[in-house]
């Protein structure tokens, strides 16, 4: 029912549409222009990157959002990540998409931990992360300049051993395109 397919050029227009929606960008660290040339440039950059991987989230064959590994650090065996669901109707899947992702990455990559950054005000996502076994690391005060105002950035981390120790969500396994 849920699968994750590699981000391809054919998805770029849809991704740009989602990524520039107010309800998606409001908690993003960066805001981007609705510019397909820049979008293609971004795609070329991440396609050649050895530290970033992007997938499209598909639910019943409908593309609904994007999930990514970012700043993969092979030396220290850690990564950060992000995801969003562009299609409002499917946002209620936001609680179970991460478990699919954690089960995949902790069994496929040699990560010791994954880190998350959550913008001030996005309390639902902090709550979800804590339910998934994260611990709160701290807060960068006034870390992001968003629409002329400095906002805080919450830092969280999930160790592989803590995810496995949780012994929950183990059945959330699905196809990830390599």
């Amino acid at each position: 029912m849920i699968r994750f397919i590699k981000l391809k050029e054919e998805h770029l227009e849809q991704v740009l549409e989602w990524r520039t929606q107010e309800d998606v960008t409001r908690f993003m660290n960066t805001d981007i222009e609705k510019d397909m040339d820049k979008q293609r440039e971004w795609f070329r950059r991440i396609s050649n990157s050895e530290t970033d991987v992007y997938w499209i989230i598909e639910i019943r064959e409908k593309p609904v959002g994007v999930i990514s590994l970012n700043n993969i650090d092979d030396v220290n065996k850690r990564t950060s990540w992000g995801f969003y669901i562009g299609e409002e109707k499917y946002r209620l899947y936001g609680g179970i998409i991460p478990p699919y992702f954690y089960n995949y990455i902790f069994s496929t990559y040699d990560f010791h931990k994954i880190t998350a950054e959550v913008m001030e005000g996005n309390s639902n996502v902090i709550k979800l992360n804590l339910l998934h076994g994260y611990r709160m690391v701290g807060v960068y005060k006034d870390h992001i300049l968003k629409k002329g105002l400095f906002v805080d950035l919450n830092l969280l981390e999930l160790l592989k051993e803590d995810w496995l120790k949780l012994k929950k969500f183990q059945k959330y396994v699905c196809e990830f395109e390599k």
């Binding site: 936001g94 609680g95 339910l131």
Partner: protein, 74 residues
Amino acid sequence: MNKLLLIINEMREEAGLESIESLEATMDLREDLTLDSFMLAELTVRIEDEFNVDIFEDGIVQKIGEIIAKIEGV
């Protein structure tokens, strides 16, 4: 389904909404219980946590009755 009612009321209270006294199978999650997408996302995790049930196994659910059926394995 006292536990489900408890979970929903905890979430409603955190969102500044009044508690409800009981759950009816016909209640719509969004319309009647005023749960938005983010609250529904949290609800799915809490249900998985408490009952070990994936409520989306067969698609999107809209009514309380669909969740109860999943929990009861109907």
